[in-house]
Symmetry: C2
């Protein structure tokens, strides 16, 4: 019998779609398929696209896909929408626009439902990216909404992260931009025909200037971005230093998209010339391995727990009543398991 992984490698789109759905639903058999695909992954260039709601990320993704296709490249798109984690992907909205590409066999689009995937969003997304990679897609675009820890983990899957800003957002949203400063490789100021676009560009320039000045502040090496993305160079004196370019775009009118692609390409070349592409891939491999190990250990422990101590829910009830101490329980169980 041909495995689902074999069928994916033979270009069977329905098999790929099924595997991706299984990854999104955390179906256990999907893990074996990913393992089978693993030797065939690692070739796609992964672009992350993130920003606040309303920034026009989907339109920009749509245009990036069109430009890549015009250049003869095949493209995968993973749309991560953590803003609707419970709807099972029912909210279509922007996704509908992508239908332009629905009949193009060189494009594969997948929306992550994220439902039932609590705490595993970044893992499921990594799996879907791996499937597209194994399918031979030249470029995979991962589009995420907002910037929380999950989004940052998702962004860490990418070689190049594009942060999409828009003119005229309030102070709270400016704070979001500051939050993404450490993961941005390229800034796109989208809807740049709106009033205030130049101010948004200047704000970003100021933030980058501030970043250069504080490049050596102590403790930065412990940052999450560091942990997930290798060791980026924050000091302008470092030859590996990269100053994120700021590109103005009007996605719905297809303006500036060529400039954005050129900026992404320059960043790709920078990553390769400085060895940072590999550093990012090693950091990602480390995180993926630890996640797999954690899963495997917990699954084993829960089996033992069920056999020895009865149902987990009964334990949880005793903890909720404060008659059992969860810290002691965890220590004891781990010790019995030899950990």
């Amino acid at each position: 019998m041909t495995s689902i992984a074999d069928r994916v490698l033979q270009g069977d789109v329905r098999a790929a779609a099924r595997l991706m759905r299984d990854l999104d639903d955390a179906v256990p058999s999907a893990r074996a398929a990913l393992q089978e695909l693993f030797p065939r992954t690692g070739r796609a260039f992964v672009v992350g696209l993130t920003g606040a709601p309303g920034a026009g990320k989907s339109s920009l993704t749509d245009r990036l896909v069109a430009h890549h296709r015009a250049a003869g490249k095949t493209v995968g798109v993973v749309a991560v929408d953590p803003t609707s984690p419970y709807t099972g992907g029912a909210i279509l909205g922007d996704r509908i626009r992508m239908q332009d590409h629905a009949l193009d066999p060189g494009v594969f689009i997948r929306s992550m439902a994220t439902r039932g995937n609590l705490g595993g969003l970044s893992r499921a997304t990594a799996g879907v990216v791996a499937v597209m990679d194994a399918m031979g897609k030249d470029v995979v675009v991962v589009e995420t909404v907002g910037v929380g820890q999950d989004e940052i983990e998702v962004a860490a899957l990418a070689h190049t992260v594009v942060v999409v800003a828009v003119p005229g957002l309030g102070d709270d949203v400016q704070a979001i931009k500051a939050g993404v400063l450490e993961i941005a490789d390229v800034f796109a100021v989208n809807k740049a025909d709106r009033e205030g676009a130049d101010r948004t560009v200047r704000d970003l320039q100021q933030m980058l200037e501030l970043r250069r000045q504080t490049a050596t502040r102590p403790g930065l090496e412990h940052d999450a971005a560091h942990e997930l993305r290798g060791s980026p160079a924050w000091s302008p004196d470092d030859p590996a230093f990269w100053e994120p370019p700021i590109v103005k775009t009007v996605a719905v009118r297809d303006e500036g998209v060529g400039d954005l692609l050129a900026a992404i390409e320059r960043h790709r070349q920078h990553l390769e010339a400085t060895g940072q592409r590999r550093a990012r891939e090693v950091a990602r491999a480390r995180a993926a391995f630890l996640a797999l190990l954690r899963d495997r250990l917990l699954a084993g422990a829960l089996e033992r727990l069920a056999a020895e101590e009865g149902h987990l829910d009964a334990l949880a009830a005793r903890i909720a009543d404060h008659v059992e101490d969860p810290f002691r329980l965890a220590d004891e169980l781990a010790a019995r398991l030899g950990a």
Copy 2:
């Protein structure tokens, strides 16, 4: 020597602040202090407050604190700001307003830096809530920005979750509202003096109507909200069913805040009358225990790994080069550890 936990229980505010900082930084010794405090926790009523950037959550938190204080209750505030995960809490902004309460010994305010706490945001927040609980705070308000998976995990710490909406946000933000539908116990339409407030109320009413109609859709029991919050009743026929009230507020003018508090209080009574308060606490205890167990197992495995296989980074490099398979490595190591 008096332990830090003893000092917290004696009302030592500086000891509490230090412990919270250690929790935020994931300092190992903080775990022992939490364990010591555990028997003294479980009394505070925890209110979650979440919503899109710009919704005025901090102003509303500020007003809730003032009203609780006027009623003689002590209050803890945990401000989770995942929009600035790398700044070490440097972005003050809204926080400054809370300075009104800075000199009030009945109020304890803590901003979570979240830096260095990748994937552990909800855990660190749970720890800080536990410290405030052990300090004897009657009410703890957990304020979070946006709605990603992290925010939902943080919201799951709460007995009552208030989702703050505002008039006049775009379609993408409406999608956010749909995403929080399953965790909202109370809706506050803040900035209700703005144009479009009534439309926002109607939109929310329509979404709640849709939820009633789809209450029985299959598969809902696998939802993340279910996993984290016990077994809420989605069907209006269930006696435990709760229809989230929608309250209009203008936090900066202190309007509607009494109504919001009354709605929270009605929800608290509903939780207790239907046994759902306990169900939420059991679900939370279960998640907390599993997180502790996972940590403990992984720490043990990494120790063994370091002893047997050399540095984790070298393994990660071999995985990145695709000469080692992370799935096989994880399985083998777990098997050797007896899991």
